[in-house]
Symmetry: C2
Subunit: 215 residues, 2 copies
């Protein structure tokens, strides 16, 4: 039995991703909460674990792994049941690319530390932050909708009928959108896939409101 | 012989990444330039290739792949010579995590479309853009320096003595830093690894100034 410790914050989108992966794999884990609102992730105790001061991190076999997608790739290599990537290389590239659209082009621009820095550098108030968040959400979710709606490889989920790393990223992002009152109905394929995720207990267990540190 | 077409912009950091990977793999490719300064990446011709309107994209066997790291993962699976990831899963996770620090936490905040949008939404002039760029460069490169300097797994390159996906991302980022007059000497290990990259003809061939569309 492998002992896994997850360093997490209930509302962190990247933490949601790793929680979904752990749940889909059926892996038990200890949950260690760090409160981003009070900057616990910048405490010396946490910086010893991850000098970047970002959640999530996992500890597995005494090693620390950081960065949500590399963690998910690791879990998928180490625990191959319920695969989170397809077997064939071109299909893997498609799933990784859909995941990266959210993970590299959308979420990094809209997370808490960036919104705070917009306030610090430009005096961005909540209205300006909302404008920023919605701009970058739309910039990625519009083409993502188009790509998914037009591909015969899209099924009940982003790639076929089983959840993958792409669904994990999409799910976490659409949850995040709730905080800025974004109506996901603008992207019917994304909304349909999100509904398929919400129908899966593994995704539900990973939601912010299900965590022990939920406010 | 596989025909590969690369859609690129000479100065695009993510395009540099894919060019280095192609050169390290010894793969020949056709170079198709799209001028980001004149928004050619938003032309209908390019949106037909990549609806996201971002470079790079590659065409291989008639299929389009987008997103630099998924493209590199694909090339590494398809052409296993000169591997860009180690063989062992925990080592792969380390390399992917180092790469993701740059690719998910640094570069997305500092690319051209974001700097332009800071100007559009907040009136950020060049001085404010430089402050922003340097803030996010430091936020990732400080802990990256610490992680690399303190790990026995770091060698001539980020992981051992052969270049990997982590070096590719680091190299492209430090090239990018030049545009904002950032002195990479603040990060001695990163500067040392960058020098090892610059000593490798594959990295040199991928540099912006070597491309046919260099200004």
């Amino acid at each position: 039995m492998t002992a896994i410790r997850l360093h997490s914050y209930f509302r962190s989108s990247t933490s949601v991703r790793v929680r979904v992966a752990l749940e889909l794999k059926g892996l038990a884990y200890d949950y260690i909460a760090w409160n981003l609102r009070t900057n616990e992730q910048c405490s010396p105790d946490y910086l010893d674990i991850n000098p970047q001061g970002l959640v999530p991190a996992i500890e597995i076999d005494g090693q620390v792994l950081t960065q949500s997608l590399p963690i998910i790739e690791y879990l998928d290599e180490r625990f191959p049941g319920s695969p989170l990537l397809p077997a064939e290389s071109m299909a893997r590239a498609r799933v990784r690319s859909l995941a990266a659209m959210v993970a590299s082009d959308l979420h990094p621009l809209n997370n808490l530390r960036v919104l705070r820095y917009l306030e610090a550098q430009f005096g961005a108030d909540m209205a300006a932050q909302t404008l920023w968040f919605r701009h970058w959400a739309k910039a990625t979710l519009d083409p993502l909708e188009m790509l998914l709606a037009h591909s015969t490889q899209t099924g009940r989920f982003c790639h076929g009928d089983e959840p993958s790393m792409a669904d994990i990223c999409l799910f976490a992002q659409l949850l995040n959108n709730r905080r800025f009152d974004i109506d996901n109905a603008a992207w019917p394929t994304l909304a349909r896939i999100h509904a398929a995720c919400v129908a899966d207990p593994a995704f539900v267990k990973a939601m912010p409101e299900q965590q022990i540190d939920a406010a």
